[in-house]
């Protein structure tokens, strides 16, 4: 082979290799919060960002970082968020929703675990978090493998439209390894622009959530198949660069060894191979580079004819538990040695030294030999006991391990059809989705911003609260909804990717205090261009009007210090802050226009009390003669007190409006806010005259 054609071998640290893997995969947005042992991934990206047209930032926290990455992914860009294991706790809110909504451009989370721990407050295992979130995890054993796995993760993310976690541990992230490497060619800059396309699939509402949860469960088997096709798991994994073990058997154990097998995950694989090498034993090792969701069937195939398997993985028994369940389910008789058997610790970092005594016992001792727990020398194993019972019951049964059982959701399917059959003659009731109340000031705020900005194709990022209902027709004032506070981070994120488009985040007053402040600080710090609209109705309305720090009282009713939202926004570094009354629609539109023209972060506080906390005033009426039946009040504004009058008398319809239904106000629902009167271009709406 011509050695000159080979890329030169370079020494790369794991985190550096991950960064290059992402750059080679064409990542365009990277957001992160530093945390050992993940930090150098982003450090390296930032160093090369300008050369490769990457937008990269140190966000104020992991949640904001992930939300920034989500915005990028939904425009179609490849995006990455980096953090350590405890950072994933902070990012969990957007993550749990993102798993349902899915991605467009590949979205990869680098979450570095710290067994030991060396530099962390917990030893939590990100693979468990991934099981909780039902997300795929790739678990690299070496820096070279980490680099390849990052590229695979982007592909997997796009193929199945899920975020993917790559989970290096300290001994991958902070290990240096030589590998063939030369930097990828620099692209011609600027890179072609991308654009977020509106889709109801980016707005999490309960009905969509129920649908997407079924889909997320259904793709678990697809993920497993993907893992197997890419040979991320197996006896000879794709990126196994290790030396092959010499087949000299340990003296006196030749017969026993052929009944044994080892399954090893992540960096533990290295310790196992080195341990076997040291002992001079040849035992087949199945390497798991993709532990969640675990494709268990091929591992059981691999274990066929074996009597005992040793499962070696740092931290939690993630592989062990998935494999044990599948073995029991398929009646597979096997002694499983690992954490549940008490042979391996669930805490701390592994090493060859730690494993050597266990490997020696595994090969020479009786911990594997007896399949029945009654005769077992190592009685401490609960897992073994379970396996022993299943062994007797299923000894004559051919294990059904060739196919992965299809995940189904029968209960959901049947419950949907159960109701319709009761009374065949039942007319279909109208669709009635929740909507903003009559007189709700949020409707005015949305309407004002639609008027001010939609002609400029502005993007509206929505959030969690009453104003989520702004997503409903006719306003349709939410292009994305993920979780509390995400509107702010995502609007800022979009603004870095689509700088020519206005980005407007909507957030309630209670939500502002809940999780709106860190992303606002981030937006200012990262010099985003966006407008935050705080829909301040002076309460936590959706859940029943609980107080928050802006109201000067506590849950008990006692008085409390009042935190002023405008002052907080200024304190966050926002220079353009304005408070408006959304009941004054022309003034709100004017303020919205000014805010959108401001070349930075602007904040509008649209303040007006929730209609459920104040008395209604004189209801409004529509002058049927003055009404030109343009339908604007109904079709653009959509107050639920407005309705169409289908059967108008002949005299009521003037010429030119033939066939168009008149609009009326339901007196009992009208709040008397007068917004419709401001919206009507024909001045046909006015307050009722007191009789």
């Amino acid at each position: 082979m011509n050695r000159l054609a080979e890329p030169p071998r370079r020494l790369l640290m794991g985190n550096e290799a991950i960064a290059w893997g992402a750059i080679e995969a064409g990542v365009r947005v990277v957001a992160a919060y530093p945390g050992t042992p993940s930090t150098e991934v982003t450090e390296n990206i930032l160093q090369h960002a300008a050369d490769y047209g990457i937008y990269a930032e140190w966000s104020v926290n992991e949640k904001v970082a992930l939300e920034t990455a989500i915005a990028a992914s939904w425009t179609g860009d490849r995006a990455m968020a980096c953090m350590k294991q405890v950072g994933l706790n902070v990012a969990s809110d957007p993550l749990m929703t993102l798993t349902y909504l899915g991605v467009k451009g590949g979205l990869v989370l680098i979450v570095a675990d710290d067994p030991g721990p060396h530099s962390s407050q917990t030893e939590q295992d990100t693979r468990l978090f991934a099981r909780f979130a039902k997300l795929p995890v790739l678990d690299p054993a070496t820096p070279a493998e980490a680099r390849e796995m990052v590229k695979a993760a982007f592909q997997l993310s796009e193929d199945l439209q899920v975020p993917v976690i790559v989970r290096p541990t300290t001994r991958t992230a902070h290990v240096c390894q030589d590998m063939p490497f030369s930097p990828p060619p620099k692209p011609a800059l600027p890179l072609p622009p991308v654009r977020f396309e509106r889709d109801p699939g980016w707005v999490i509402l309960p009905a969509l959530s129920a649908k997407r949860h079924r889909r997320l469960n259904a793709i678990q088997d697809e993920v497993r198949r993907w893992f197997l096709q890419r040979r991320l798991n197996g006896i000879t994994p794709t990126w196994d660069e290790g030396e092959s073990v010499s087949p000299t058997a340990l003296a006196g154990c030749a017969n026993k060894a052929k009944d044994l097998a080892i399954v090893a995950g992540g960096v533990a694989y290295n310790y196992v191979q080195e341990g076997l090498d040291t002992l001079g034993v040849s035992i087949p090792v199945y390497k798991v580079g993709a532990p969640v969701p675990l494709p268990a069937a091929p591992i059981l195939d691999f274990l066929r004819g074996k009597t005992s398997v040793l499962i070696v993985e740092e931290q939690e028994p993630v592989i062990e538990e998935q494999l044990t369940v599948e073995a029991y389910r398929t009646g597979f008789a096997l002694s499983i040695i690992g954490k549940h058997s008490g042979h391996l610790p669930r805490e701390g970092e592994f090493s060859t030294d730690l494993l050597l005594p266990l490997l020696r016992r595994f090969v020479t001792d009786s911990i594997h030999c007896n399949r029945s727990p009654a005769h077992s020398a190592s009685a401490a194993s609960i897992a073994q006991a379970a396996q022993g019972r299943s062994a007797d019951a299923a000894a004559s049964t051919e294990p059904a391990i060739t196919t992965i059982p299809a995940a189904s959701n029968k209960s959901a399917a049947t419950s949907e059809t159960a109701n319709s059959a009761v009374t065949p003659a039942l007319p279909s009731p109208p669709l009635r989705t929740p909507i903003l109340c009559a007189g709700c000031p949020h409707r005015n705020s949305f309407y004002a911003f639609i008027q001010a900005a939609r002609s400029r194709d502005a993007l509206f990022t929505g959030d969690i609260g009453c104003y989520t209902l702004g997503a409903m027709p006719p306003l349709g004032a939410a292009d994305t909804i993920v979780c509390m506070g995400a509107s702010v981070a995502m609007a800022a994120g979009f603004s870095h990717i689509e700088p020519d488009r206005p980005h407007i985040a909507f957030l309630g007053d209670s939500t502002f205090f809940h999780s709106g402040i860190p992303p606002l600080i981030n937006a200012v710090y990262q010099q985003a261009r966006m407008t935050l609209v705080v829909l301040d109705n002076r309460t936590t309305a959706m859940t029943g009007h609980q107080p928050h720090p802006g109201l000067g009282r506590k849950g008990t009713g006692e008085t409390a210090p009042t935190i002023d939202i405008a002052a907080v926004a200024r304190g966050c570094g926002v220079e353009w802050v304005r408070t408006v009354d959304p009941y004054d629609i022309p003034a709100t539109i004017a303020a919205a226009r000014e805010a959108l023209d401001y070349p930075g972060v602007s904040v509008i506080i649209a303040r007006r009390d929730c209609v459920n906390l104040v008395r209604r005033s004189t209801p409004y009426r529509i002058d049927a003669e003055a009404c030109r039946r343009c339908g604007l009040c109904l079709r653009k504004f959509g107050c639920p007190a407005l309705y169409e009058v289908k059967d108008t008398g002949g005299e009521a319809g003037d010429k030119g409006q033939m066939g168009k239904p008149a609009v009326a106000i339901a007196r009992e629902k009208c709040f008397g806010c007068g917004a419709c009167a401001q919206v009507c271009p024909w001045k046909a709406i006015s307050p009722e005259v007191e009789s």
């Binding site: 009635r432 989705t433 909507i435 109340c437 107050c639 639920p640 629902k669």
Partner: protein, 204 residues
């Protein structure tokens, strides 16, 4: 006693949850065990709302199985269709005939076929009682008392585990003092609607 099952259907904001609470408290005062399940949160903002009230001596879950409701109380016309599958074959329904047209219907996203609904309900014979509770509530001066009109009408049905007196007593205990008088008038208006409709003799 056999379990008594009441379904209360309506639109978020109509006071269906309060009505179910009043009925439940009255049943408790009558010495029964009670379970309720209510729709709250986002769904209550003008969305479809269905509350379950179960009264008896031996109760398990709070959700009423299909076809097992003794009474369907619907605060809105079309919402009665959503509660209908719950109603027992011989169960009775008290329905506010006043439609609340969802904005989605005006936008052409869904259809509110008032004629078809009325026709269907009329085919059900004597066990359906259509009343204009909203009009009666507006006569008290506040449409928000529609729920109390409906409870008043409900109180005229035979076979309830609670008396009209217990129902009103429970309402009085729950309502803030300033709203008691207007709600009392609404409750009485409902009672006269229920009995004037000739559906049943007054309870108690």
């Amino acid at each position: 006693m056999k379990t008594f099952n009441l379904i209360i259907a309506g639109v978020g904001g109509q006071g269906g949850v309060l009505a179910s609470r009043v009925f439940a408290e009255a049943a408790l005062a009558a010495g029964y065990k009670v379970r309720t399940s209510e729709t709250i949160g986002m769904a209550q903002r003008e969305g479809s709302v269905i509350s379950h009230v179960r009264v008896g001596e031996r109760l398990w879950g709070a959700l009423i199985p299909d076809g097992a409701a003794d009474v369907l109380l619907s605060l809105e016309l079309a919402e009665s269709l959503k509660g209908w599958p719950k109603l027992a074959p011989k169960g009775q329904a008290v329905i506010n005939r006043r439609p609340i047209i969802p904005p989605a219907a005006s936008l052409g996203l869904t259809r509110y076929d008032e004629g078809a609904i009325i026709e269907f309900l009329q085919q059900q014979g004597q066990r359906v009682h259509l009343i204009d509770a909203t009009a009666a509530a507006l006569e008290t001066g506040n449409a928000k008392t529609t729920n109390m009109v409906m409870l008043g009408a409900l109180s005229t049905l035979p076979g309830l585990p609670v008396t009209a007196e217990l129902l009103w007593q429970a309402a009085e205990d729950i309502l803030p003092a300033r709203l008691r008088e207007i709600n009392r008038r609404a409750f009485l208006a409902g009672r006269s609607l229920g009995s004037c409709a000739g559906t049943a003799p007054l309870v108690s």
